[in-house]
Symmetry: C2
Subunit: 288 residues, 2 copies
C-alpha cells in the first residue's frame, strides 16, 4: 500500500491516519474543509491535501465524515476508483449505507466498518495514536466485499491491533442504539437538566463529584457528529429512548410510593453490570 486517502480528518480519521502512517510508511492524502485539512497537514498526519475528484489512483479510501454525508461520498468515490481500490467507512450507523450501496457496481470494493473507539473530543487536534488497539471493529455484510480487497482492510486493522465482530447492518444498528447512542442522549439530557436547574454554575462546580463528571462526560461530544448519528439510527434510538423513559418513570413512581423494596431491587438487578463493566474496563486499561 503506497497511497491511502482519508476523507474527514477529525478524531477518527486523524487517529487512523496517524497509526497507518506509522505502520505502512505510506503517503496519506487528506480531504476535508480547508481549515481542517490545513490543521491536519500542520499536525503532520497527512502528507498532502486533495479533493475527492482526484482519488482515482489510491490503494485505499477511508471515509470518516459525519454519517449524513457518508452515503453520498462513498457512492461518488466508488464511481472514481480503480478496480482493486478498497473503500471503507467507519460510521456509527450501518444499515442505511449498506442498503444504499447495495446495488452499486463497485459494491465489492466497499467494506462497512465500525471501530468502537473514540473519545469525547473532536477535530484534527483530537487525533491520537493507538486509539484502536485492542478495540472491537464491527464489520457488516463482509460477504459482499471482494475477499482480496477485504484482505487489505484486515492488513490495516491488524496493524492497528483491532479485534473483529461480524454482524448484519440491521443487528449492528439495533445493538449500538442501546450500548452507545442511548448513553450519549442520557448524558446530554442529564447535562442539560442540571444546567437548566442550577442557575449558579458555581454550585455545580462545588457540589459535583467524580460521579457527575463521569455520567456527563459524553455531553462534551460534538453535536456535528452526533446529530446525524441520532437521525440516521432514528427507529432504534427511539425504541431505546422509550424503554429508558419507561424505566425512569417507573423508578420515579417507586420513589413517590416510598417503595424501598422495588427501588432496591431495580438497583441490585443492575449491579450485575459490574462483571460486564470489569471486562470493558480491562479492555480500556489494556490500551493505556
Amino acid at each position: 500500500m503506497e497511497k491511502i486517502a482519508v476523507i474527514g480528518l477529525g478524531l477518527i480519521g486523524g487517529s487512523l491516519a496517524l497509526d497507518i502512517k506509522d505502520a505502512f510508511g505510506c503517503r496519506i492524502l487528506g480531504v476535508d474543509r480547508p481549515e481542517n485539512a490545513k490543521k491536519a497537514l500542520e499536525i503532520g498526519f497527512i502528507d498532502e491535501i486533495t479533493t475527492i475528484n482526484k482519488l482515482t489512483d489510491v490503494d485505499v479510501v477511508i471515509i470518516a465524515t459525519p454519517v449524513d454525508t457518508v452515503v453520498e461520498i462513498a457512492a461518488k468515490v466508488l464511481d472514481l476508483i480503480a478496480e482493486d481500490t478498497l473503500v471503507f467507512d467507519v460510521g456509527s450507523v450501518k444499515e442505511e449505507i449498506c442498503k444504499m450501496l447495495g446495488n452499486h457496481p463497485k459494491r465489492k470494493n466497499f467494506l462497512a466498518a465500525h471501530p468502537i473507539a473514540g473519545t469525547e473530543f473532536s477535530g484534527p487536534e483530537a487525533a491520537i495514536k493507538d486509539l484502536f488497539s485492542k478495540k472491537v471493529n464491527i464489520l457488516c455484510e463482509l460477504e459482499k466485499t471482494d475477499r482480496k480487497i477485504a484482505n487489505k482492510a484486515f492488513e490495516i486493522f491488524d496493524s492497528l491491533g483491532m479485534e473483529y465482530k461480524y454482524m448484519s447492518a440491521t443487528e449492528h444498528d439495533r445493538h449500538i442504539a442501546y450500548v452507545s447512542h442511548l448513553s450519549h442522549v442520557s448524558s446530554f439530557m442529564l447535562g442539560k437538566t442540571v444546567l437548566e436547574m442550577e442557575r449558579s454554575e458555581q454550585n455545580i462546580f462545588d457540589m459535583a463529584g467524580s460521579g457527575f463528571e463521569s455520567t456527563v462526560r459524553l455531553a462534551k461530544s460534538s453535536p456535528n457528529t452526533w446529530t446525524p448519528i441520532f437521525l440516521h439510527n432514528k427507529k432504534n434510538l427511539i425504541s431505546s429512548l422509550e424503554q429508558y423513559i419507561k424505566n425512569l418513570i417507573e423508578f420515579k413512581e417507586f420513589v413517590e410510593q416510598d417503595n424501598a423494596k422495588e427501588i432496591h431491587n431495580s438497583m441490585s438487578d443492575t449491579n450485575h453490570l459490574k462483571e460486564i463493566l470489569k471486562g470493558i474496563n480491562q479492555k480500556q486499561q489494556h490500551n493505556k
Copy 2:
C-alpha cells in the same frame, strides 16, 4: 484528640478512619455489624470494636451509616456523650437530620457535614487513603454548632485536606439532587434498560466502548446506600427526575420530527458543561 469513634465502617467511614489514624495517631473505636467490624479490625483502620452504648468518653463520634439510620443513631449518641464531644454525620441528605435534631438538648455538639467524595465501591474493603483531599465538604447550619466543638471538626477536615462550602440544609438537598442523586438514577436506569434489551451480554461486552462504561459507572453503586438516600431526598429527587424525563421526551420528539436544528441546539447548549467539567476534573486529578 485521643479517642474517636466511627459508626458505619464502609467506604466513607473506613476512609475517614484511615486518614484520621494517620494524622492524629489516636485510638479508633468502630461500631458496625459484626462481619464489617471484624473486617475493619483486620484491615486495621479501627483499633477496637465497640457498641453505641459505650460511647460515653470519646472525643469525636463520626456517623457514616446509611441515611435512613442516621437520625436515630445521632439522637442516641447525643444522649450519651460528654459535654464537649463532637458528633458529626457525613450523609448525602441533610434537611431531615437537621430538622429532627433541631431541638435536641445537645444540638450544639452536632455538625451536619457532607464531604463530596466517594467511589462506586462499598464496604470496609472499599476504604482508601486520601479520599477527601482537595474535595469539598458541605457544612449545613454551622451556626447551630458550638464554636469550640466545631473547631475539632475543622481540625479533622483540615488534616484531610478538605475545602468548605456553607449552606442551609434545604439548599444542600435541592442542589445535591441535581448534581449527584439524579446522576445515580440516570446511570442505574441506563444500565437497567441496556440489560433488559440486550439479552446477550456478550453483545454489551463486545459493542460497548469507554463511553458506555463511564455513563453507567455509578450503576455499580450500593443499593443499600442509595435506596435510603433517594427516599430521604424524595421531593427534590422527584422534581429533578421530572425535569430529566421532560427533556428526554422532548429530545425524542425532536428525533421523531427529524428536527436536526433542535437536536443540535440542545447538544451544543450542553457542551458548555465542558468548562465546568474541566474544573471538576482538575479537582479529581489533583487528588491522584
